[in-house]
C-alpha cells in the first residue's frame, strides 16, 4: 500500500467510522459483555450485547484502541444486530477465515468487504481482527 493509498483508505473509510463509531458508549444494562483485548498493544474494548427471545437486539462497545480496531468493531457491531447467536458465530468465523486465507468468499456487506481487503496490511491485521476474534471465541465456547 502506498502512502497515498493509505491516506485515501483512512480519509474515506477508517476515519469517518473512527470519528462517528456505531454505538460507541457504555449502556446502562447488557445481557452479557465480551472483552476484546490485545495485550501486545494495549487496545481494550468491552462489547455489550443485549438479547431478546434468542436474537441479538443491540451491540454497543466502549474502550481504547487504534483507528483500525475501532472502525472494525464499529462495523462489526452494526452487522451483528438482529442476528441469532448462531449466525453471529458464522459471521465472525467467516470474517476471520477470510482475513487468514488467500482464496475466500467475500461478504455481501460493503464495509465488511473493505475490512477484508486489508488482509495484507502489514502489522495491522490483528487490529482489524481484534473484536471479531473476541466474539468468535466467546460464541464458540457458549452453549447456543
Amino acid at each position: 500500500m502506498t502512502k497515498q493509498e493509505l491516506q485515501q483508505l483512512f480519509k474515506n473509510e477508517i476515519l469517518p467510522e473512527n470519528e462517528n463509531p456505531y454505538h460507541f458508549q457504555e449502556p446502562q444494562t447488557a445481557s452479557f459483555t465480551i472483552e476484546a483485548y490485545n495485550s501486545m498493544c494495549g487496545d481494550k474494548y468491552t462489547l455489550y450485547f443485549n438479547t431478546s427471545e434468542g436474537q441479538i437486539t443491540s451491540v454497543y462497545f466502549y474502550g481504547f484502541g487504534c483507528a483500525l480496531s475501532k472502525a472494525s468493531i464499529s462495523i462489526m457491531c452494526k452487522s451483528m444486530e438482529h442476528l441469532s447467536p448462531k449466525n453471529i458465530t458464522a459471521l465472525s468465523d467467516q470474517f476471520i477465515f477470510t482475513m487468514d486465507q488467500e482464496n475466500s468468499t467475500k461478504n455481501a456487506d460493503k464495509k465488511i468487504q473493505m475490512l477484508q481487503q486489508l488482509k495484507h496490511f502489514d502489522g495491522r491485521v490483528d487490529c482489524i481482527k481484534l473484536g471479531w476474534e473476541a466474539v468468535k471465541n466467546h460464541f464458540e465456547n457458549a452453549d447456543l
Binding site: L6, F10, K11, C41, C66
Partner: protein
C-alpha cells in the same frame, strides 16, 4: 594442522574506528559499516531499543566462523574443534575484559537478557527463598525483569515490593530504604528504562542494597552498548544484556555474576557439557559458568557478539554516549514543535529513548503512517504494562536512537508527525 583464516576485514574496521570521532562526516562513515542502509538508503531507523542494526564486521566474523572454522567446541580431539574452543573461550575473556573484569569465569553465555534474568531467578534465587521473604524491583521494568520475580513471589509466598515512579518518570526512591530489609533476597533494577529512557541512579540504588548486603541484579539491555558496565564497575552481583541491542546477533546474551555469588549459581538445565561425573546414583556438576552450558552453545553467536564489542570499543563508549545525548536533546527540543504532541515523562537524566503520544491518534496509526515516510518506530506498551498502567497510559509511540542516527533524521520525524497531524485533523 589446519590454520585459522585471518579475519582481516574486522580488524581493519576496528583500526579505523579507533580514530573515528562522531561528527557530521563520521556519522556517514559509521553508517557505512551497516549494510542495511545500503539496502534501504532512505530508512530512518528509530527502533534501536528493540534491536540495533547489525554491523558488517559482526556478520563477517560470524559467517567466517560458520564457513571456514566451524566445529563443535570442547572435547573434540582434532585441530578444528580445538581452535573453535580456543576462539570461544578467548571471546569469553575478551567479553569479561569489556565488562571490566579479568575473570572470564564470571561470564556466562545465554540466549539474551530475558534468559539471563530467568536463570538468576531459577538458578540463584529460587533455592534460597522462604515464605515471608521479599524481592524488590521497580514499576519501570521491562516484563523480562518483572514477571520472573512475580512468578517466584507467587510460588514461594514471597512479597514483591515495587519501587514506584514520580510524575516526571523518575523512580521514587523515598521508600527504597524501607523496602530493603533482612528478608530481601534480591533487588532487580534496570539501568535505563526501555520506555522512557530514564537513566536510573544506580550508584544510589545499589549503595542502599549493598549497605544491607542484598544481592543486586542490573538489567543493562538498554545501556550495555554505550555505558561502562560490569558487575565490578557497577558494584552489582548480576548483570544481564543482549547482543542484538548492541550491533550483535540475535539469540546471544550475557549473564555476568560477581565472584561473591559464583558458587551459588546452580545448574538449571540438565544435559551434556555441564557435568563433572555422572553415575546411575548421582551426577556432580562443573562450576559456573560451565554448569549453565548444557547442550551445544551458540558458538557463532558468541563470535558475533565479541565482534560487536570490538566494534563498540573501536568507536569508544564516551563518544557514543555523547552522540546519543546530543540526539536526545535535539529531539526533545524539536518534537514539541509538533502540534498535539505529548512527550511522556521528564526525568532528571534520560538518554536515547523518547516516548510520546499525539492527540487523538493512536500510536499504531502513527507508526503505520510514518512507515510510509520510511520512518521505523515502535508503538504499543513496550513490554512495560505495569509502568504504562501506573502512568495512566494505554500505549505510546517510541523513538530510540543509535550511533548511525543524525539530526536530519529527527527533522524528518518531526516533519512527518506534523504532516500526520494536518492529515488527521
Amino acid at each position: 594442522m589446519i590454520g585459522i583464516v585471518k579475519l582481516k576485514y574486522s580488524f581493519d574496521i576496528a583500526e579505523k574506528l579507533v580514530l573515528l570521532k562522531l561528527n557530521k562526516n563520521s556519522i556517514k562513515k559509521v553508517r557505512s559499516h551497516f549494510p542495511i542502509f545500503e539496502a534501504h538508503p532512505n530508512l530512518v531507523y528509530l527502533d534501536n531499543a528493540a534491536t540495533t542494526q547489525r554491523a558488517q564486521s559482526v556478520v563477517t566474523a560470524q559467517s567466517h566462523f560458520d564457513l571456514y572454522e566451524n566445529a563443535n567446541i570442547h572435547r573434540g580431539i582434532y585441530d578444528l574443534s580445538n581452535q573453535a574452543t580456543q576462539k570461544f573461550e578467548n571471546d569469553r575473556t575478551e567479553i569479561a575484559r569489556f565488562l571490566g573484569s579479568g575473570n572470564a569465569n564470571t561470564v556466562a553465555f545465554t540466549q539474551g537478557t530475558t534468559a539471563s534474568i530467568n536463570i538468576v531467578a531459577q538458578s540463584f534465587l529460587a533455592p534460597r527463598l522462604q515464605a515471608g521473604d521479599n524481592i524488590v524491583t521497580t514499576i519501570m521494568e521491562h516484563h523480562a525483569n518483572f514477571i520472573p520475580w512475580q512468578m517466584l513471589a507467587q510460588k514461594y509466598q514471597v512479597e514483591l515490593r515495587i519501587v514506584p515512579i514520580d510524575k516526571n518518570g523518575d523512580l521514587d526512591l523515598s521508600q527504597l530504604s524501607n523496602f530493603l530489609d533482612k528478608k530481601t533476597k534480591l533487588l532487580a533494577v534496570s539501568h535505563i528504562s526501555n520506555t522512557l529512557g530514564t537513566i536510573h541512579p544506580l550508584d544510589e540504588i545499589i549503595g542502599l542494597a549493598k549497605r544491607k548486603d542484598i544481592p543486586v541484579l542490573v538489567d543493562a539491555a538498554q545501556s550495555a552498548c554505550h555505558f561502562e558496565i560490569g558487575v565490578d564497575p557497577l558494584n552489582c552481583d548480576f548483570l544481564t544484556f543482549s547482543g542484538h541491542k548492541m550491533f550483535g546477533p540475535f539469540g546471544i546474551g550475557i549473564l555476568q555474576v560477581s565472584e561473591k555469588y559464583l558458587a551459588d549459581m546452580m545448574p538449571y538445565n540438565y544435559g551434556g557439557g555441564i557435568i563433572k561425573d555422572v553415575k546411575v546414583e548421582k551426577t556432580s556438576f562443573r562450576n559456573f559458568p560451565h554448569n549453565l552450558d548444557a547442550g551445544t552453545p551458540n558458538v557463532s553467536g558468541v563470535i558475533g557478539l565479541a565482534a560487536a564489542l570490538e566494534f563498540i570499543s573501536g568507536i569508544g563508549k564516551p563518544d557514543m554516549q555523547s552522540h546519543l545525548n546530543k540526539l536526545t536533546l535535539y529531539a526533545l527540543d524539536q518534537l514539541p514543535k509538533v502540534p498535539g504532541i505529548e512527550i511522556i515523562g521528564n526525568p532528571k537524566r534520560r538518554i536515547g529513548i523518547i516516548s510520546f503520544n499525539l492527540k487523538n491518534i493512536h500510536p499504531h496509526d502513527i507508526a503505520s503512517f510514518l512507515n510510509k515516510d520510511g520512518i521505523a518506530l515502535r508503538a504499543g506498551m513496550h513490554c512495560t504494562q505495569p509502568l504504562l498502567n501506573a502512568m495512566g497510559l494505554q500505549a505510546t509511540a517510541r523513538v530510540s536512537f543509535s550511533i548511525y542516527n543524525n539530526e536530519e533524521e529527527i527533522n524528518k520525524l518531526v516533519a512527518s508527525l506534523k504532516e500526520l497531524m494536518r492529515f488527521w485533523s
